[in-house]
Amino acid sequence: MIAKHALKRPAFRLTRLQLWLFLLATLVVAGVIAGSVVFARGLVVTNLNDLVPWGLWITIDLSSIALSAGAFLLCAAVYLLGLKQYQPVARTATFIGLIGYSMAVLCLLLDIGRPDRFWHALVYWNTHSVLWEVTMCVTLYFAVLALETAPILGQAAWMQRRLPRMAGLLGKAHTLAPYLAVVGLGLSLLHQSSLGATYGVLKARPIWYRPDLSVLFIVSAMAAGPALTVLASTLSARLTRRAHVDDRLLERLSFFIGWVLVGYLYFRFWDAFAMTYTYEPGRTEGLNLITQGPLSFNFWIVEILLGAVIPIVILLNARLRRNPLLRMLALALVVAGVVAYRWDTNLAGQMVVMSYLPQDISARYTTYFPSLIEFVSGAGIVAYGLLAFTLGVRFLNVVDHRRAQHHEAQPEAEPTLALSN
């Protein structure tokens, strides 16, 4: 098809895919250049400071992790609950998870002051630190995701042709899937929740200091992770013939996401509502930032209205949900809502500066807006993620729901733990 067109049209005419790849590659190159500036000149090129030391990159890091949550949920559904029909969706989710976790690692490499010492986190242990636990979870779950995605590489036609032995070896990792699903479930639940706890354990920041953050982080990730998986699958199937989806699976998953959002909104409501009672230094100011101050548009419109209420209406109403465009819109809004939630949470605690003077335990406000370098390098990381997924769809068939039938014919293809029987 493409070759025929190439004969008729001028040589410089690009296909839609090539244009898309070109755009992403440009962003990645720009990101690499911006990242090099960060490594060469240090974090002084950011708009971060001692009052707001965590900014845009940490938001992208947290969002990438949250959006990777589809992997553990779907693997648990397939291998632990025995919902085998979702196996091809789990395959896509796992691939997205691997990309998401690698994006998070890239963000952290940019963000830490001494990227050359990244390995210290594995060697020097402070087991009291939530961030130590987060580091362990990232590392171990990254390994789990790599093993879970190994069969995808093993199944690739070009891999089987060029490196048949390697392909066979990678394919064998599939037999580990049920065990990996158990390990992955544990690590992911821990990791997602402890990212909330990273903020939640800090007594110095009253707007963060509450157990709810762990719960809200995991529940919001349980909505956003599958939402991105379903959105990416649907979009791929509409844009390329390389992707094949079973819309019934995606529709039922969307219905599930709708109910998770109801749970999320419920927790969110009581969490925020309880904080409105009586003045608490730092906490009240933080809440004001979110509900009336500079973060209020993000909170009311992006997080609550667009990110939760409207998607709930669309995803729980069968007629609206079956409209593919409306469903994609709802899923995209869920993703945007959770990114906004991570951004607002991260900033609300830092933009409030607590006084420690004895007569005056009050709070002042500071501001933060990312620098151009932060934006360009952050965009480069996001573009890398999109590029990796696009290439996965094109060369590794990561969105292919027809595979389910192929595999059911083979007896060893779908190992499950005994508890699913």
Partner: protein, 257 residues
């Protein structure tokens, strides 16, 4: 069934090898980290700052900059205007609180912040990865990140003293250490911190009005022990339960309430 058992066993074996590898790396890690300044638990160092005497001159900040080679953009010791008592300005000098339950030590993922047995909260600049979690966790704003390399001469040197510790590299967090280097060297040659100037934190020595006192809480005869026994005092944000080792004598007695 046989193959399945084998697979499970080999899976466990692989997992086991992984655990052993990580543990091995950890033990190695201990070997990497050089000897860190430790101190001695027979002393419990503390500072007392008398707000009735402090004039807000800022000599303490400058002496600290020189002796610890701190860049202009960072203050380990900050002097803040804290209000007025009967037309007289009152100041609050804020070094690191050297908390007994320090949030920074608890949150550091690599253990670069640690307690010395003598109570000083130390930084291992060779371990710090620059994640800045401690900066976010400290309720006193006592920590600063090296956003850029500190190059060139230190303007506070030599007027306010000579550097006694190495300059910190770009990308790590730094903070006041109660001038541990002066304490350790002083003790080694038989001096008494808080009494002999060479063994006492630079800010205490530099204070022209004697508003800062330093000493050992384990020694009932030390000046800090006596001051705390005879005066009403307070510590910053005691509600947080951090247990600071910096005590303030208020400019008026009621403040301590």
């Amino acid at each position: 069934m046989g193959t399945k058992t084998f697979k499970r066993r080999s899976f466990l074996k692989t997992a086991g090898i992984g655990v052993v590898a990580v543990a091995g790396l950890r033990m190695n890690g201990r070997a990497f980290s050089g000897p860190a300044p430790q101190g001695d638990s027979s002393h419990q160092w503390a500072m007392v700052i008398d707000q009735a005497k402090c004039t807000g001159c800022g000599y303490c900040t400058l002496a600290c900059r020189a002796h610890n080679d701190v860049p202009q953009s960072i203050s380990w010791n900050r002097v803040i205007h804290a209000g007025k008592v009967k037309d007289k300005d009152v100041f609050l000098a804020r070094p690191c609180m050297q908390c007994e339950h320090a949030p920074c030590v608890e949150v550091c993922p690599v253990g670069a912040s640690y307690y010395r047995p003598d109570g000083i909260v130390m930084m291992d600049y060779g371990k710090c990865i620059g994640c800045r979690y401690c900066l976010v966790a400290c309720p006193y704003g006592g920590r600063a990140f090296n956003w850029e390399e500190f190059t060139g001469p230190n303007p506070a040197v030599p007027t306010w003293g000579q550097p006694e510790v190495p300059r910190r590299p770009r990308g790590v967090v730094e903070k006041c250490s109660f001038c541990y280097q002066r304490i350790d060297r002083g003790l080694a040659i038989g001096l008494k911190p808080g009494v002999d100037e060479e063994a006492t934190p630079a800010c205490v020595v530099a204070c022209p009005v004697g508003a800062r006192k330093f000493g050992d809480l384990n020694d009932p005869e030390s000046e800090v022990s006596k001051l705390l026994a005879d005066h009403s005092y307070y510590r910053l944000r005691e509600d947080l339960g951090t247990g600071p080792r910096v005590y303030y004598l208020p400019a008026r007695e009621e403040v301590s309430g």
